[in-house]
Symmetry: C2
Subunit: 414 residues, 2 copies
């Protein structure tokens, strides 16, 4: 058991113990947002035949070489092919076939002239400019080549990928299972928000916060009843959680006081502690342990601290267990829009928001830091302030972990 | 009816006809991702009492003024308050109360010294440094003040907001209804991806693409059977769609050929056309009409064109109908990572991907443009190239509409 590890060491210790949880096959619409578990290969080229890019006439480009306004070329229309039909005739010299968008190019033709560019009369068309071979034609394999890798294992499925898979007739998609995350809130001071207020008690925000955060990162929360600060009750809940979930999160009961019973509960169930405490503020009080090849992360009861350590330690684990290629949180650098007045004897994480300004990455700190949730509603970054840093000045360059959706920063005016 | 309108005019004409579709009340967990329909006000301050920031001892700061290592101050511990309990005694001069994280500060005390900083023996603690008044105390209202607006109407609910609402005992959330979007794919060449391949036919990717895109923007897709290129069949499907959905999308049948029957179908059901064609490439073939106070957007059959116009014209409408504050697509500016070889006689939209590099917003064009879906899988931007532009050079600054998730650009190395 290690004590007071660095954030990177904490992440590594946890990541070294987890693997993707399993895989399954889902229907195409159900694959949205899921992570692909096997490389997807194109079963055929797309388009699978040369086709017309628009409604027009399939011709031989050679026939139009001398066409001009002064000396137009006249071609005889010998057939019409609608989209979904197949041409019967060949385009021989002097002839054209009327063709609709997406219809297969007839044999002999190598270009399509759009309807708007020609006049048709008495079964013939008049062409007034030369066409290049291939113009107006979408060639076989233009989008996808047979055998090509369409999507690699470990990527998340978005709408565009679903469109591509549909075009290739792929209706069953191999994906990783969603990670089931059990959340246990400990603390005799906790009330459910549906209960009546009581002096000295608080509503359990961690349950709802972490359940929602799980959903935001593609995991499936499994809620277990909250338990009081009592080692036996916590141990019982942990046992249930290990049966029902792939990863167990507890909140509360991790700090130094005599009511801090998480360690005793972990000992009762025989969990091995990986580390206790991470050298960051907020969020130093974290205990990571494992039992039955599953990780138990015990976070502080304070919602801000719980959220920060959930994002920094639990989310990478969830990402790896979800099968995602790169489990670590992305880091962006940017210019601070405003300063931070305090020194940071310990490594500190500041809630912040990415802000766009003329293509530059500005980073705006939340108005309040520490023990506040409301100030963080619009935050999508955690600025990483190294231990020993002096106060931060506006205009200074900083690095930040991306923990939320950057698109949320786009709604305001530049 | 207007012909060949600008993109901005198209958006305005459609937006001027739509309103939020309705509102409802959902449970707190179900509010994730939904749009709030009424300002949410804090019913009480949070915290609602002064509380201890950690496990320690509540003291009077004045008692510790002279404390030093050489001359420590000794205080008598008169009570213990666990989280969730309420102190019975007052802290009088010379005394301290043992207190757990989150427990209410006892009367008379104005500071908390952490367990780690003192020794307790024989019912007394020894303090070796002075405390400032307020240190170790989280004051009432530190996070939220009673009566404060927690979230304004028109914002989307994220996990952090759910945490704040839970802490305030708000368990029922007023949200706008999700927009129901009917999707009708027309075209005799279309096969469902579950069907056997046939020469000259293609799998209907638009259905799956647009359904998934609807889900990505928080709308609820309503699928209607595909219909052949036949005005009566299309008209029948449109009627059903207007009954079931708030917004109707059709794909296919909008270009200039003789099989292009969307306009005839719109005329059969008595829809009024707002505009036909938008001056952009790809995606010029769009018809917007309205009937029964609902918008019908008829997009091209080509998936790339359908997707571009869905994002640029349908998404703003969906956003307004969803109740979001700002329906227009955000625009970012950035430096092109590579050039584009063609001139743009018409306004052109190029599929691209945001790329981070040293805090700069780099924009990387997709390898292929036009009639390709696969190249666009990783795209989250549409670069806006004004009509009359020469080829684009690497290093040039361009503006782009954000159509996808910017976080998707963060996984690669800088």
């Amino acid at each position: 058991m290690k004590i007071n590890v660095s954030l990177e060491e904490a992440q590594e210790l946890v990541l070294s113990m987890v693997n993707p949880v399993g895989e399954t096959v889902v229907s195409l619409p159900a694959a949205l947002g899921r992570v692909i578990s096997r490389d997807l290969i194109a079963p055929f080229s797309e388009p699978s035949f040369d086709k017309s890019a628009f409604d027009g006439y399939a011709v031989r480009a050679g026939d139009t070489r001398s066409a001009s306004s002064a000396s137009p070329v006249v071609l005889q229309v010998i057939e019409e092919v609608s989209a979904g039909s197949v041409p019967v005739k060949k385009v021989v010299p002097g002839c054209a076939i009327r063709i609709m968008t997406g219809a297969p190019l007839p044999e002999g033709a190598d270009a399509v002239v759009p309807f708007e560019d020609v006049e048709e009369a008495l079964g013939s068309i008049v062409i007034r400019r030369p066409l290049a071979a291939g113009s107006g034609v979408i060639p076989t394999g233009n989008d996808v080549l047979e055998g090509e890798v369409i999507a690699r294992r470990g990527r998340r499925v978005n709408a565009l990928l679903i469109g591509v898979l549909a075009s290739l007739g792929i209706t069953r998609v191999p994906v990783y299972d969603q990670v089931r995350v059990a959340i246990i809130n400990t603390g005799s001071e906790l009330l459910d928000p549906s209960e009546k207020r009581q002096l000295g008690k608080i509503y359990v925000s961690n349950r709802y916060l972490l359940e929602a955060r799980c959903r935001e990162v593609g995991a499936e929360p499994v809620y277990l009843e909250g338990v009081p600060d009592e080692k036996g009750a916590i141990a019982g809940s942990l046992k249930k959680a290990l049966e029902k979930a792939d990863l167990v999160i507890t909140t509360g009961g991790t700090s130094a006081g005599r009511y801090d019973v998480i360690k005793e509960a972990l000992s009762i169930i025989g969990a091995q502690i990986l580390f206790s405490r991470v050298a960051i503020k907020p969020g130093k009080s974290v205990i990571a342990s494992h039992k039955d090849e599953k990780i138990i992360l015990s976070l502080a009861g304070n919602p801000t601290a719980a959220m920060v350590t959930f994002d920094l330690v639990a989310v990478p684990a969830i990402k790896r267990m979800s099968g995602l290629e790169d489990p670590l949180l992305p880091v962006v650098t940017g210019i601070l829009a405003g300063g931070f007045p305090s020194t940071s004897p310990r490594r500190r994480l500041l809630m912040a928001r990415w802000k766009r300004q003329n293509g530059l990455g500005l980073i705006e700190l939340a108005g309040k830091q520490g023990n506040v949730l409301k100030s963080s509603i619009d935050c999508n970054l955690l600025v990483d302030v190294p231990a020993g840093s002096p106060p931060l000045a506006a205009g200074q360059s900083v690095a930040a972990f991306v923990v939320g959706n950057l698109n949320d920063s786009l709604s305001e005016d530049e």
